[in-house]
């Protein structure tokens, strides 16, 4: 009798303690969402227009991944992601109005897939302290660092990583190797030029020629003839697949390749390049990609392929789909950090306080995030470096297939804003 009474007292005390502790435990954990509560994310995507070949698969990858997060993972800390997306048609004026719309709708941050569209939106966003994340970016988007972040290394980083690899692993001669640049006539091409201008001397590379081409070029025999006259050891191309294929074919016709080493930036180094140039001509060409290859054995690959096959089978094998899927995972991680460190009520307001909280508690707390192995780890904690992933891999076309030949190489931060000539 005495024993059972003792047990009863212990039970009552334990129950009282549990009841007393519950609110404390509840306060420590993220509050579960109420009905209708969600985290708003804004997307400005060029699903149509002249960049639709990249924008369309990127839009699909992003929306499919958010569907996966909401339906299979139960959202972010229980909050579904409420996507507000609009097609900017690769039109700068439209992109500028869309960013205002996303701000009005109370989105916590916005993303763009094209660097040009981020360029059109960024000053409006920077002035309002509305954070943005760009999948593809040029140095101008993140230098000087304000409120715009980049998912991956920019086009300048491609050059820096390839040049470093070339000096350490390919160049066997004496003295400075001679490098020629062949650049698309927009920020994709000139991002690489700026990096070369900033870093060639330090790496011991002499830039002997800089040629540019249009996205619609039909022949680059004349520019390659000029380059040939400078007798380069290596040519670096920063462009898109179609013009790069023409440059490779013309270099082959002129007898320059095989002979010189050729490296490509990530915008052009896709399966489409090998298809367009022909596997025999593209054989041995180097390229830099800030992501793994489609089908690689990484933890996030199977789920992504499952969704791609189910909802957008036409995008299968497309690296852009994968990069955008990875970006959606990063978006979710930013929101997860934001909701973990901020009251929902603050984020729900969708005003400048919410944006500051998202940036300081969300972006800045993303440290070494893995992205399920789809690309290099993401870290936004350094206030001076707005690039999430700093890593690229060097690939080479071997037997017609794009094959990784290095592990992740970190592209060093170039502080363009400190260079006197940047933007002049």
């Amino acid at each position: 009798m005495k024993n059972s009474r003792h047990k009863l007292v212990i039970g009552v005390v334990a129950l009282a303690l549990l009841i007393a502790i519950l609110p404390v435990v509840g306060a420590c954990a993220t509050k579960p969402p109420a009905e209708g509560q969600a985290l708003k994310l804004g997307l400005s995507i060029c699903m149509t227009g002249k960049a639709a070949e990249k924008g369309s698969p990127m839009g699909h990858g992003k929306l499919d991944c958010i569907k996966y997060i909401n339906e299979e993972l139960g959202g972010v800390e229980g909050y579904p992601i409420d996507v507000h997306w609009y097609d900017n048609s690769y039109d700068a004026a439209k992109a500028a109005t869309i960013v205002k719309k996303l701000m009005d709708e109370g989105c916590l941050f916005f993303t763009t897939n094209a660097s040009a569209m981020m360029t059109a939106s960024m000053e409006i966003a920077n002035r309002a302290e509305f954070p943005g994340l760009a999948s593809f970016s040029s140095p101008a988007c993140t230098h000087p660092p304000k409120h715009i972040y980049a998912q991956m290394p920019d086009y300048g980083d491609d050059w820096a990583a390839f040049a470093k690899y070339y000096m350490e692993n390919i160049w066997q001669g004496e003295g400075k190797p001679k490098m020629a640049l062949h650049l698309l006539n927009n920020s994709t091409g000139y991002g690489a030029r700026d990096a070369a201008r900033a870093g060639a001397d330090a790496l011991g590379i002499e830039i002997v020629a800089t040629e540019e081409h249009a996205a619609t070029t039909m022949s680059e025999i004349d520019s390659l003839t000029r380059i040939k006259g400078k007798n380069p050891d290596v040519i670096f191309i920063s462009s898109t697949p179609a013009p790069t294929a023409i440059i490779l074919k013309n270099a082959y016709e002129l007898g320059m390749y095989p002979g010189v080493a050729i490296g490509c930036a990530h915008a052009s180094f896709t399966k489409a390049l090998v298809d367009l140039a022909g596997a025999d001509i593209a054989e041995g060409v180097y390229g830099v990609i800030p992501a793994v290859a489609w089908g690689d054995d990484v933890s996030g690959m199977a789920k992504m392929i499952e969704y791609c096959q189910r909802y957008h089978p036409e995008d299968e094998g497309n690296t852009d789909y994968m990069i955008s899927w990875a970006e959606a995972l990063i978006d979710a991680e930013i929101l997860r950090q934001a909701i973990k460190h901020t009251d929902y009520e603050v984020l729900a307001r969708g005003d400048v306080e919410s944006w500051r909280a998202t940036e300081m508690n969300g972006f800045r707390n993303v440290k070494g995030y893995d992205v399920e192995g789809l690309h290099g780890p993401v870290d936004f904690s350094n206030p001076e470096d707005r690039r999430g992933s700093k890593s690229v891999k060097v690939f080479q076309v071997k037997n017609g297939a794009i094959t990784a030949i290095t592990d992740w190489i970190e592209a060093p931060l170039v502080k363009y804003e400190d260079l006197e000539w940047f933007g002049k």
Partner: protein, 354 residues
């Protein structure tokens, strides 16, 4: 005579007045009230759209002077807007010019560049002139991207507009600034068109040989049309630069130039009202179709891939094609028919609207 019923001209002042009747004044005051109270009930997004519309109206009004009144086809207008935008950016950002000085200089710089590219108009016209203005688009953008002063491919940031210490930072304050300048430009275009210069432009457009025989100096007036048209493009470019805050050459594409021509045609060539209606129609249509793809994608997840996103541009193209078939003389003409129908209301059945 396009006058309201019962309205007669008893002196020159009345003949030249833009607002003739109490109804005109009531409509005008109503419009002013709506426009200037807009920031009270429009969010940042719609104010942003209104600002873009205002800026585009200035640019397209310039193109209408060139194309609609003087008959000089230009497919390089985005290039001239770029000249104005970059002039404003360089002057205010790099040289510290005040906004108003930058605005005026942008107009004059674009005007002078327009004069240079307008010189071929003395010898060529029609499609041949169109080709030379396309060349202007490419040459201007090439220079912008390769000249260190403009920031090249990196671009250049532009500070907020400010006048006398008042900085136009918010969307609402920018709205008032842009609307006032737009109103001034429209008034200028209206007065230009119904004056001596405007009549000379129309004479050249209708038959340049006959105009020359009547004493119209073709070289002078064609170049003047290029100068004025590009001056307004420069003003629009300057406002665009301060509004968007960062310039890149990709903001001024050939597609934009073609769209501006479309706005003039849809609004109504050779009328002051035409560019206003054409710009509002196209810009709102662009904003409207932006909603179609997300709504379709969410409502019908089983649609074939790419269908939902493709519907927007298809609707845009279809509306323009249908519009040109059903109303080839533009929205301004439709507005004229509407006014005519109510001129003798409720006895409009006897009205000859032709």
């Amino acid at each position: 005579m396009d006058l309201p019923c019962g309205t007669r001209n008893y002196d020159y002042a009345k003949d030249m007045a833009i607002l003739r009747t109490r109804t005109h004044w009531a409509l005008f005051i109503g419009l002013l009230v709506i426009v200037f109270t807009a920031p009270l009930y429009l969010g940042n997004y719609w104010l942003g759209v209104a600002n873009l519309i205002g800026i585009t109206i200035i640019a397209v009004t310039g193109l209408n002077i060139l194309m609609g009144y003087c008959g000089q086809l230009s497919i390089g207008h985005a290039g001239f807007i770029a000249v104005g935008a970059y002039t404003a950016a360089v002057l205010t950002n790099r040289l510290g010019f005040p906004f108003l000085a930058g605005l005026i200089c942008s107009g004059f710089t674009a005007g002078f560049i327009g004069l240079i590219f307008g010189i071929p108009s003395v010898r060529v016209k029609g499609f041949y002139l169109a080709i030379t203005t396309i060349a202007a688009q490419f040459i201007i953008i090439w220079i912008i991207t390769h000249w260190s002063v403009t920031g090249g491919f990196v671009g250049i940031s532009v500070p907020y507009a400010s006048i006398g210490g008042i900085s136009f930072k918010g969307e609402a304050s920018q709205f008032y600034l842009i609307m006032v300048i737009t109103a001034v430009c429209i008034l200028f275009a209206k007065n230009l068109a119904r004056g001596r210069v405007g009549r000379a432009f129309i004479a050249i457009r209708d038959n340049d040989l006959a105009a020359e025989v009547m004493g119209v100096n073709l070289l002078h007036y064609k170049l003047l049309a290029f100068f004025i048209g590009c001056f307004l493009a420069g003003i629009a470019g300057s406002l665009f630069a301060h509004w968007i805050g960062f310039l890149s050459a990709e903001n001024f594409t050939l597609t934009d130039s073609i769209l501006y021509v479309g706005m003039v045609v849809i609004g109504g060539l050779g009328t002051t009202l035409g560019p206003i209606l054409g710009v509002i129609f196209i810009r709102l249509l662009q904003q409207g179709i932006m909603y179609i793809s997300p709504v379709l994608e969410n409502a019908f997840p089983g649609l074939p891939a790419g269908f939902a996103t493709g519907v927007g541009p298809m609707v845009f193209g279809l509306v323009i094609v249908l519009f040109l078939i059903l109303e080839p003389r533009g929205l301004a003409h439709r507005w004229g028919l509407f006014k005519s129908a109510y001129r003798l209301w409720p006895f409009s059945y006897c009205l000859d609207i032709t």
